[in-house]
């Protein structure tokens, strides 16, 4: 049968954001794929070179609309490394708490986006309903629901109010109950399993070579988590081991990526509880933060989607000379042709949905 190219996107229910996937098909089977990006390119790195260091947190919030906190945090961590600023202990704990809340909110949004891809529209409502509780929690200290601008260079904007721990505990207990329901609902759903089992498989060694990181890598059984391997903030003082899942030995499929994110939500709740219990009293902002910086620095963090890395070069002025962002999704999408080939056209939403795309950070 003659092969042909099909465009899935830039306007397509599968794309979750603005991007284009060209697939080459032989009948129903995918023989080649080419992802095309750039529709949302805002040149954040170039704009950042014209703005002072502290102004750029506005831009970093907008890198990923589903996970704004983690990106601003990664930027602030890098600038602190560049300037030699020491964050107060309490601020480190608060950061850890809001980061994990953000991770849960991001994973819930993924759950809410993924299930309708597979025809389970109810999943969207469940995911969004639960994410709402976490947005309410994040709104308490930051005042924002989507873009927080809460993490600042040298600490966080303001302290957690009294009673926050109790509110967080109530929300987490609710989510735990509901996650159990979802597991019963999806794990045992024959339709869900047919769409995800043994679909979009890749091996751990391939994933490492292609640059896949984060939940997508851990779902192939690789116990690698930057919260431990290159620890930051309060993570060294918390007790945890990276969660991993795998379809079979060292192989990741759509279902193991789903399981991975559900398990990570449980782990995040555990981390939040630990951090809330251990949090010391004190300041939440460093006494003085320099305006100018010189030299170069980089830090990497475990973003909701993988390894986020920022590299900054300062030339002694109050603006960065060069600011480079590593987006985990940018690299993961580049590897997507490898794990699309050989599957059917109808598998594309299941596969591309399972890696949790966010075009904001991918296009920068």
């Amino acid at each position: 049968m003659a092969e042909m190219w099909i465009h899935m996107g830039p306007q397509h229910p599968m794309t979750h954001g603005l991007w284009n996937l060209r697939i080459k098909v032989d009948g129903e089977t995918i023989t080649d794929a080419v992802p095309e990006l750039g529709y949302l390119h805002r040149s954040v790195e170039k704009i950042g070179e014209r703005r002072k260091y502290f102004m750029n947190t506005t831009l970093t919030d907008r890198l990923c609309y589903a996970s704004a906190m983690t990106w601003t945090h990664c930027y602030c961590l890098t600038v602190e490394e560049l300037m030699g600023v020491e964050t107060p202990q309490r601020a480190k704990y608060i950061r850890t708490i809001v980061l994990e809340l953000q991770r849960i909110a991001s994973h819930l949004m993924w759950l809410g986006a993924y299930l309708p891809d597979l025809g389970l529209i109810t999943g969207f409502l469940y995911g969004m309903r639960d994410r709402e509780m976490f947005l309410n929690l994040l709104e308490i200290p930051s005042g924002g629901r989507l873009l927080y601008n809460y993490v600042k260079i040298g600490g966080v904007k303001r302290d957690l109010p009294p009673g926050f721990a109790a509110k967080a505990e109530r929300v987490m207990q609710t989510l735990e109950k509901r996650l159990k329901e979802y597991e019963d609902l999806y794990d045992n759903s024959k339709i869900f399993r047919m769409r995800t089992d043994d679909v979009g498989c890749y091996s751990a060694s391939d994933a490492i070579n292609w640059g896949i990181t984060g939940p997508n890598l851990r779902s192939a059984g690789v116990a690698f988590d930057l919260r431990q391997a290159d620890s930051y903030d309060a993570y060294p003082e918390l007790d945890f081991t990276p969660v991993t899942t795998s379809a079979s030995d060292g192989i990741s499929d759509c279902f193991s990526r789903y399981r991975q994110r559900i398990d990570e939500m449980y782990q995040s709740m555990d981390l939040i509880r630990q951090a809330l219990a251990k949090m010391p009293e004190g300041k939440v902002m460093a006494d003085s933060v320099p305006v100018r910086a010189s030299g170069e620095a980089f830090r990497r963090t475990e973003d909701s989607r993988g390894e986020a890395l920022m590299y900054l070069v300062g030339d002694g002025t109050d603006r960065p000379y060069r600011w480079k962002i590593r987006s985990p999704m940018f690299t993961t999408v580049s590897a997507s042709p490898h794990f699309l080939k050989g599957y059917k056209v109808a598998d594309v939403p299941a596969i591309m949905g399972s890696i949790d795309m966010c075009i904001g950070e991918t296009d920068k």
């Binding site: 990006l37 490492i208 640059g211 391997a229 890395l309 590299y311 060069r322």
Partner: protein, 151 residues
């Protein structure tokens, strides 16, 4: 391997200089463009740096600088920062996509935004900007106004 030890060993490779430790598990080294292919192969084969985190291109005005970040996917979480200087009139270097598949789009991005040419790259074309875009906007001498009417 301990960070101090492997940095010392790396410093013995041909064409390297300025080897130092940035943090407890992060090393930093400079390498010349000519010696870089052999050096990168050794990194992958002998030192087990199995993950290419990032390739950043920096416009130093006198020339370009490529900054590679490699890491080990393992408990140690070791990282290495490699600096390679490129002359301004011939910003070319050998591609490393045959060693690390993940470097593919990082190299395309460096070409797209900074105009660095990677020799041997399988598909070196723009990735974020549209085909036919003129110039490389992250260069310091890029003037936006010239291209304003086109786009």
């Amino acid at each position: 391997m301990e960070t101090g030890k492997f940095i010392q060993q790396l410093g013995k490779h041909k064409g390297t200089s300025n080897s130092s430790a940035l943090r407890s598990n992060v090393g930093c080294i400079s390498v010349t463009r000519e010696a870089s292919p052999a050096f990168f192969t050794a990194l992958k084969e002998d030192y087990a740096f199995d993950h290419c985190s990032l390739i950043s291109a920096v416009d130093n005005q006198s020339g370009f600088e490529l900054v590679y970040h490699f890491s080990i996917i393992g408990e140690s979480g070791q990282m290495l920062e490699v600096h390679v200087d490129l002359p301004r009139d011939t910003p070319t270097i050998d591609s490393i996509t045959h060693l690390w598949g993940g470097a593919d789009w990082h190299e395309r991005e460096a070409y797209d935004l900074m105009g660095i040419y990677f020799i041997g790259h399988p598909d070196l074309k723009r990735v974020l900007l549209p085909d036919g875009f003129a110039g490389h906007p992250l260069r310091k001498d890029y003037v936006y106004e010239i291209h304003e009417e086109e786009w």
